[in-house]
């Protein structure tokens, strides 16, 4: 469904992505893992149009989309849940969700709102409260719900576990798995490697702007280097 070839994105002279190749098959969950500063968020921003890649190709459903404006990419069916969630804190929860459907002109918005509320009942209970009054976990739910309101075929999740309690993280990952089972393809960027590999089908390991390893989630989880660097393997001295 999505194919990235030789993607280079930089900030001025600093290249955050030094030519990465990545493939997201339709219906799968693909996880992009790596440490701070590896280039994960840069990759997500390039995919969603928030940053313009310098070179390389992003092919989505057979069409090149690199360098398109963000709103055009949303209209093609790609939705980003940004890192840090970016909730509109001065708008109500309902308004936040409605804004997620900004581009849609079909009559299914009400039905999709219903399904977001079914998935996250707490959002319905608080729908008239301001977005800023939610807890971190609830904000993440709202951010995911808002992205789902655009009815995406491909959901880009940038560090959904950031700053959340372990129990809440487990809930969020359960929801991601459900969303995937209901038909959406998911590209998940995570530092929480253990959780990410649990739900992903494929995984790519990003280190300082390059993909250093990739394979099925089981293969990546079994890789000694990944174990050592990200999963707290035998050699770690913490």
């Amino acid at each position: 469904m999505l194919k990235i070839e030789g993607l280079v994105t930089g900030y001025g002279s600093i290249k955050a992505l030094k030519g990465i190749d990545l493939e997201v098959p339709a219906g799968s969950i693909v996880s992009l893992i790596g440490a701070n500063g590896a280039g994960k968020t840069t990759a997500m921003k390039s995919l969603s149009g928030l940053l313009k890649p310098e070179s390389g190709r992003i092919i989505y459903k057979g069409k090149q989309i690199q360098g398109l404006a963000p709103h055009k990419i949303v209209s093609l069916g790609i939705s980003l849940v940004p890192e840090g969630r970016n909730i509109l804190s001065q708008m109500t929860i309902l308004e936040n969700l409605e804004m997620g459907a900004y581009q849609r002109k079909d009559g299914q918005v009400a039905a999709d709102l219903r399904s977001v509320f079914n998935r996250f009942p707490v959002l319905e209970e608080r729908k008239n409260q301001l977005g800023g009054t939610l807890s971190g976990g609830q904000q993440q739910m709202l951010a995911i719900g808002r992205a789902m309101m655009a009815k995406p075929d491909l959901l880009l999740l940038d560090e959904p576990s950031m700053g959340l309690a372990p129990m809440v993280v487990a809930d969020i990952f359960k929801v991601i798995k459900e969303i995937n089972q209901e038909g959406a393809t998911v590209l998940l960027v995570e530092q929480n490697v253990r959780q990410a590999l649990k739900i992903a089908h494929y995984a790519y390991v990003l280190e300082t702007g390059k993909i250093v390893y990739n394979g099925t989630a089981e293969e990546v989880a079994a890789n000694p280097r990944v174990k050592e660097a990200y999963l707290g393997g035998s050699k770690t001295t913490v």
Binding site: H71, V74, A150
Partner: protein
């Protein structure tokens, strides 16, 4: 009694209040997308000069010249908008401030704008309204009020109607899809982009709407004072307009309007202490920043009064 209330001084201040309130709407609209643009005085001068020259040189009627002046501002706003709106925050403020100065210097050096002398003899709205009224049979005044007073009142009324129309338009815009997009961009541009909002389009839209209204305000003021010069539109003017929003609050359209009203009247009330006028003015602004940094009217204020008044008003 009525005669003393309708003295030219009061009437003139009333007109300035309304013009400034229109300028307040203009800066509110650009601030609605979170863009701090300080080009309003520049757009105002483009509107003023265009309208003045169109009436004097081409004989265009005033009611056509003023909106045409507004459109001239829109044209310039479109040209500078695309590069300028790539900038954010303070950078945009500096760039647009520079734009205003460039416009001023151009008008200062052009032959057609009469350089530093400015343009005088601009057809006056007061006189024109007076002519219309005298053909309607008010040539000798009405109920002891002179023709000049009636026509001044009529002009005041015209300005008020324009202000109310713009206010109505702005409020409707705020509740529309466009208004929601403006609010989302102001709150969080990245979030707005992620939600599929074409941020460039809406930022340009807000920018040209602000430019149009500033241009119209400029045209109106040119035809009220029948003289304009480059000095009328220097950066003091820009700061003055900005202060309407800072003082009154920029989150709701009522803020800049209240700011314009108070800050236009304040110097007049302080006339008695004229030596200390600017000092008092400054002190009030400093106190404002310390005690109400969001301005006099914010969403909180509206919420507070709405609960206090038992939800009688509908915002």
């Amino acid at each position: 009694m009525i005669n003393s209330l309708l003295n030219p001084y009061y009437l003139q201040i009333g007109m300035f209040v309304l013009i400034n309130a229109i300028l307040g709407i203009s800066i509110y609209l650009t601030l609605a997308t979170g863009q701090l643009s300080l080009g309003n005085a520049g757009f105002m001068s483009i509107g003023a000069y265009s309208s003045a020259l169109l009436t004097i040189k081409l004989g265009l009627p005033v009611y056509l010249a003023i909106p045409t002046g507004g459109m001239a501002s829109v044209l310039i706003a479109l040209i500078i908008g695309f590069p300028a709106l790539r900038l954010n925050g303070l950078y945009l403020a500096i760039a647009t401030l520079g734009f205003g100065e460039v416009v001023r210097v151009i008008f200062l050096n052009l032959k057609i704008t009469n350089g530093a002398l400015g343009i005088s003899g601009i057809p006056s709205l007061n006189v024109l309204t007076g002519n219309v009224l005298s053909t309607l049979g008010f040539a000798d005044g009405f109920a002891g009020i002179s023709l000049q007073q009636i026509s001044n009142c009529a002009v005041l009324l015209i300005l008020l109607v324009i202000l109310v129309l713009l206010l109505f338009f702005t409020r409707r815009l705020g509740f529309s899809r466009v208004g929601r997009a403006f609010a989302a961009i102001k709150a969080d541009e990245t979030a707005a982009q992620a939600m599929g909002i074409n941020t460039t389009y809406f930022k340009i839209l807000a920018f040209i709407l602000g430019a149009f209204i500033a241009g119209v305000a400029g045209g109106l003021s040119a035809h009220l004072t029948f003289y304009i010069g480059p000095k009328d539109f220097d950066y003091h003017r820009t700061v003055e307009i900005l202060i309407f929003a800072v003082f009154g609050g920029s989150n709701l359209v009522w803020g800049p309007i209240l700011g314009a009203l108070l800050l236009t009247l304040l110097p007049e009330f302080l006339r008695a202490a004229s030596d200390y006028r600017m000092m008092i003015y400054g002190a009030i602004l400093v106190a404002m920043m310390a005690f109400r940094p969001l301005g006099l009217i914010s969403e909180e204020t509206v919420r507070f009064w709405r609960t206090k008044l038992g939800r009688r008003s509908s915002e």
